[in-house]
């Protein structure tokens, strides 16, 4: 080749390279393996490796024996059947049940045994025997007993003889390992082996002083999940430690919520033995994985995004691999229902569902994930791509997330369903982005009934509804009669606090940080100074600023924000127990569940307190939560409608917590549950203590008709939605925080708020 040709070729190659380099950024955002997308977190299109191909595990529910209230354990037996151990609410007895056809036909055997104290856990061995752990703390003496259930279902009691240094420890979990050893874990985390003949216990897995939140059995290994986050593995045969598995450690380290487990309510992680000797199976919210020990990669067998596994409100109890095509998962879902989910490999099913319904939410929520997983199970042909704008795993701000969302909307690649909390909902309505969902709301209203006051508040003048909260909550004032009377207005509450301070009361409202206090006061009182069109009443704002400052100044504050807590739910923010602990005389915060009335009642048994709505400016304000809307131009309107219907429907909205459902039937179901939550067999209590060692205990009880009546009356009286405009909220709270902290005068804060809001409104 001549020199000229060489030069020419080099020139062309370089030009092509430059061109490719220039256009490299043009690639679509697509779905990356790590799930990052547009500044947020998403599953992207499920990355199953054979996307577009065939073959996937299909989820179905294996019906539990009639009357099952609690499920303690599940195991595959040597004969290939599956056995469970549970508690039957109709018989009020413990039972074992066995199935071989996996169609819901169980051979149930009721045990002739009644627990004398708290049953902390249960275990099933692969030979058909089982065990229940019974723990008693009566009289300050700790007693750990195991009810050994033989294959003939006879029960023998075994008192555990704890090692000398662990005599004060109660046990919290029980399991059989791969070698057939009976293992128990103490509350302090020690893993002991119990001699089934004598009850003698010895430390089996040496954690070398570390703490284990829970442990699981994975084939021939015992996996102890430890804190600091990691997994320590032990050989079942002799309890000796085996080398750490970096990948398992990494998985735990990436999600601190996986490190703790409640023996009754499970955890976000469960283990099982794999089909090969050197492999294990584990499940987390991402799916079910097959992992060869020591390997650097885990193979995803089941994608959690396509079924109930991705529901972060659920907790896993036990994972069992029957064979290569059948996997069972016992769990307790977000509604508190125990379930066994069966995953069967269908080689003809498309690896990825053909339709993709995009759901966007600015913040993650267990409730939303629960709905997504249920929808996914009921619509196997639809893949719900839930995108979370602010995953909390990165530094993405609300603005960044909204910018990315708007880019997608403008590019025609936006979501089909929007969870409008924190989004510029009014702008979307104004720009015609959102569809009128009033027909769905009317349909729900006819079928189940709704809180008419909430629906009315969300209706436009033309009757259209563009965004409908599926749940709502309100801010309350708690305390004595004076506090409740004062809570009708913020200035009244400030007067009340100042009076107590003048009387020498050291702790009045509990001394929250300025930001936390302002979040509540804004939601409770902003409707008083903020008109629907966003304009601000200067005089009312000034009054609100004064009241907020006065309330803040009543107490001393440390201004230390607690961070790092996984926050996927809306929480109650009142602290009635602070009154019992003498940390406050009154409390302000949100009331988000019927269950909380139980805790308020528990406080009422010891202090003359009650609760009522905190009215910022005489308004009856509710806070909309999980406000859902459908994007007008979606190509999957029917599927989006079905999703919204499910969010608003009674079947899946009847979960207590995360606010009260707008659906009346769901609310009634919650109330009915709260009236019958405790009986002679199930009791509840709360014990809280301060860092100074002051502790108080209180029993929880069922709600009465009067309790329900009062709560319902309050919920029906709420008329004004708390302002949802995130921009004005940030502007007002940001400037007011400076004022509360003494970094700005009231005049400056007021002027700054007015100037910035004027700018916003003039845009």
């Amino acid at each position: 080749m001549g020199r000229k040709k060489q030069k020419k070729l080099t020139g062309i190659l370089l030009a092509v390279a430059l061109m490719i380099g220039t256009l490299a950024g043009c690639g679509g955002n697509g779905a990356s393996g790590d799930g990052m997308f547009a500044g947020g977190e998403t599953g992207g299109k499920p990355n199953s490796g054979n996307a577009g191909g065939k073959g996937r595990f299909i989820e179905s529910e294996l019906p539990l024996p009639e009357g099952t209230q609690t499920l303690y354990a599940m195991e595959k037996l040597q004969d290939g059947s599956v056995m469970i151990l549970g508690y039957n609410r109709e018989e009020l007895k413990y039972f074992t049940a066995q199935t071989s056809d996996f169609n819901g036909d169980w051979t149930v055997q009721i045990l002739d045994w009644a627990a004398e104290s708290y049953v902390a856990g249960g275990a099933v061995k692969n030979d058909g025997t089982a065990a229940l752990l019974q723990v008693s703390y009566a009289g300050g003496n700790v007693s750990n007993e195991v009810a050994l259930i033989g294959t003939d279902k006879t029960v023998e009691m075994l008192t555990l003889a704890m090692p000398e240094n662990l005599k004060e420890d109660g046990c919290r979990d029980i399991r059989f390992d791969g070698a057939g050893n009976l293992l128990v874990q103490t509350v302090a985390g020690s893993i002991l082996r119990a001699d089934e003949a004598t009850g003698s216990c010895e430390v089996y897995c040496d954690l070398e002083g570390g703490y284990s939140g829970f442990f699981g059995v994975a084939g021939k290994w015992i996996a102890a999940v430890t804190s600091p986050a990691g997994i320590r593995l032990f050989d079942s045969a002799d309890g000796s430690p085996v080398s750490e598995d970096a990948l398992l450690n990494e998985m735990i380290a990436s999600d601190a919520s996986l490190t703790d487990r409640n023996s009754e309510y499970g955890a976000g992680l469960a283990f099982a033995g794999g089909m090969e000797e050197n492999a294990i199976l584990y499940v987390n919210y991402d799916g079910v994985f097959h992992h060869s020990m020591g390997g650097s990669v885990s193979e995803q067998l089941i994608n959690g995004e396509l079924n109930s596994i991705g529901d972060t409100s659920a907790n896993f109890l036990q994972l069992v691999m029957l064979d290569e095509e059948h996997i069972f998962l016992a769990l307790i879902d977000g509604t508190g229902t125990y379930k066994i989910l069966q995953y069967t490999y269908d080689k003809d099913a498309p690896a990825v569902p053909g339709k993709e319904l995009k759901v966007y939410a600015l913040k993650d929520s267990d409730y939303l994930r629960h709905i997504v997983s249920v929808y996914q199970r009921n619509h196997q042909d639809v893949y719900v791509n839930l995108t979370i704008g602010m995953s909390g795993q990165d530094a993405v701000t609300a603005e960044d997330a909204i910018r990315a969302l708007n880019t997608d909307i403008l590019a025609g690649a936006g979501p089909d369903v929007l969870i409008l909390d924190g989004l510029p909902a009014e702008d979307y309505v104004e720009k015609g982005i959102l569809a009128d969902i009033s027909p769905i709301v009317e349909e729900i209203a006819e079928a189940d009934g709704v809180f008419e006051n909430i629906v009315f508040a969300m209706k436009r003048e033309n009757g259209a509804i563009y965004g409908m909260p599926t749940r709502f909550y309100f801010h309350m004032a708690g305390g004595d009669a004076d506090a409740l009377a004062a809570g009708r207005t913020l200035p009244g509450l400030a007067d009340y606090g100042e009076q107590l301070k003048a009387d020498g009361v050291a702790h009045v409202f509990g001394g929250e940080t300025a930001k936390r206090l302002l979040n509540k006061l804004y939601e409770a009182g902003a409707a008083g100074f903020l008109a629907a069109d966003g304009t601000i009443d200067e005089s009312a704002l000034k009054d609100w600023l004064s009241a907020a400052k006065r309330i803040y100044d009543v107490d001393e504050h440390t201004e230390i924000e607690v961070t790092g807590i996984r926050d996927n739910s809306v929480h109650s923010t009142h602290n009635m127990f602070g009154i019992l602990l003498k940390e406050s005389r009154a409390t302000i915060g949100s009331l988000v569940s019927a269950n909380e009335i139980s805790t308020i009642n528990a406080v009422k048994t010891q202090e003359n307190v009650d609760y009522d709505v905190l009215n910022g400016d005489g308004q009856s304000v509710f806070v909309p939560y999980q406000m859902v809307g459908i994007v007008n131009e979606t190509a999957l309107y029917t599927e989006a409608e079905a999703f919204v219907r499910m969010m608003l429907g009674s079947e899946y909205a009847s979960v207590d917590g995360n606010g009260f459902p707008v659906n009346r039937a769901a609310y009634d179901a919650i109330c009915e549950g709260a009236k019958n939550q405790y009986d002679e067999y199930r009791s509840g209590g709360i014990a809280v203590s301060t860092t100074e060692g002051v502790s108080v205990e209180a029993d929880l009880g069922n709600l009465t008709e009067a309790d329900i009546g009062k709560l319902t009356g309050i919920l029906e009286s709420l008329k004004t939605p708390a302002p949802t405009n995130a921009v004005i909220r940030e502007l007002v709270i940001g400037e007011t925080e400076k004022y509360l902290l003494g970094q700005a005068s009231q005049e400056d804060a007021l002027a700054s708020i007015l100037q910035k809001c004027r700018l916003y409104l003039s845009e």
Binding site: K4, K7, K8, G11, I12, L14, A15, L18, M19, G21, T22, L23, C26, E399, I402, R403, N406, I409, L410, P424, D427, Y428, K431, G432, I433, V727, L731, G734, K738, Q743, A744, D748, S752, Q755, K756, L759, Y760, S762, E763
Partner: protein, 311 residues
């Protein structure tokens, strides 16, 4: 067309013979078409980038500026809305004010500094590289770091107020008062002056020392040399620097945004704030009209400058 070396008037330097040779050389190269194709191939990717990332999107913006959000044609309504928009008018006024305060100030200060450095000979000596690096440091400081520094300095309880209170003067919340504008101007000047000085020094370096020596022989002093040799020779350079500084002045939004967010004090509420906030509220119609207006104004400004510079 007259070929003019950077910063030097052809009539003063080089001579006709030199340019005549250069011209012939270009003609000879022009006949080698194959080489020219290779050259065009090298230019093509860059042009493609501009086409894909700027020209085509701008055409889409132009189209959208005449349409409602729903996609229907609305004529000049969006432009009317933008002109009537109080926030846009405020931001446009602030941006113009910022440009007209900053650009002359920046050019003047950097030219003076460059002239001083050149006359002191510091730039040409061994430590010249260090000086150049030092001058470029502010330009290289990331906006996020600068913002942290700002906060330490100009917070209501910051360093500046601390000093003021020590000498008995009252401080203020700098970023929440009209002073925010001057803080922004100061920041822009500080950040860009070194870069512009380096550009000026590079342009000054292209002026042959013999010209100054000849002037000195004729009795011209430093001041006379500056006004009659340096300044005329920097004519083209000043045009380039002016355009670069104008474009850089739009980047000051980063600092303003990071310090004071989407809604800063109204004195530093710039056009980019409006565009940013319009995008968040999905006001694409207004944003498109505003962008077209801005493009027109910048183009006119450049054309006026070209006219003034007779380019």
């Amino acid at each position: 067309m007259q070929i003019v070396p950077f910063g030097v008037n052809s009539g003063q330097v080089g001579g006709k013979e030199f340019w005549s040779k250069m011209s012939r050389k270009v003609k000879v190269q022009g006949t080698k078409k194959k080489r020219a194709y290779v050259g065009m191939l090298f230019v093509f990717p860059g042009f493609l980038g501009v086409l894909v990332f700027y020209l085509v999107p701008f055409l889409d913006v132009l189209r959208r500026s005449f349409m409602r959000m729903t996609g229907s044609f609305c004529g000049l309504q969006n432009y009317k809305t933008v002109f009537q928009n109080e926030a846009f008018r405020l931001a446009a006024g602030n941006t113009l004010r910022f440009v007209f305060v900053c650009l002359p100030l920046l050019l003047l200060l950097s030219l003076m500094l460059a002239a001083l450095l050149r006359s002191a000979g510091a730039y040409a000596c061994a430590s010249g590289v260090s000086i150049r690096r030092a001058l470029l440091i502010p330009y290289a400081v990331p906006a996020a770091s600068l913002v942290l520094f700002w906060r330490v300095l100009f917070d209501g309880q910051g360093f500046v107020n601390g000093i003021l209170s020590r000498i008995g003067l009252a401080g203020c919340d700098w970023m929440n008062t009209k002073n925010a504008f001057y803080v922004l101007v100061g920041s822009y000047i500080w950040k860009n002056i070194g870069y512009v000085v380096v550009l000026f020094l590079a342009a000054m370096a292209a002026i042959p020392a013999s010209v100054y020596e000849a002037a000195k022989t004729d009795g011209a002093g430093e001041v006379v040399s500056f006004f009659y040799i340096t300044l005329p020779c920097l004519r083209s350079a000043i045009f380039t620097i002016l355009i670069i500084s104008l474009l850089n002045s739009f980047k000051v939004f980063r600092e303003a945004y990071l310090v004071a967010g989407s809604y800063p004090h109204e004195s530093i509420y710039l056009l980019q704030h409006v565009f940013n906030n319009w995008f968040l509220s999905l006001s694409v119609d207004k944003m498109a009209a505003g962008a077209v207006l801005l493009a027109i104004v910048v183009s006119l400004f450049v054309r006026v400058l070209e006219h003034m510079w007779e380019i």
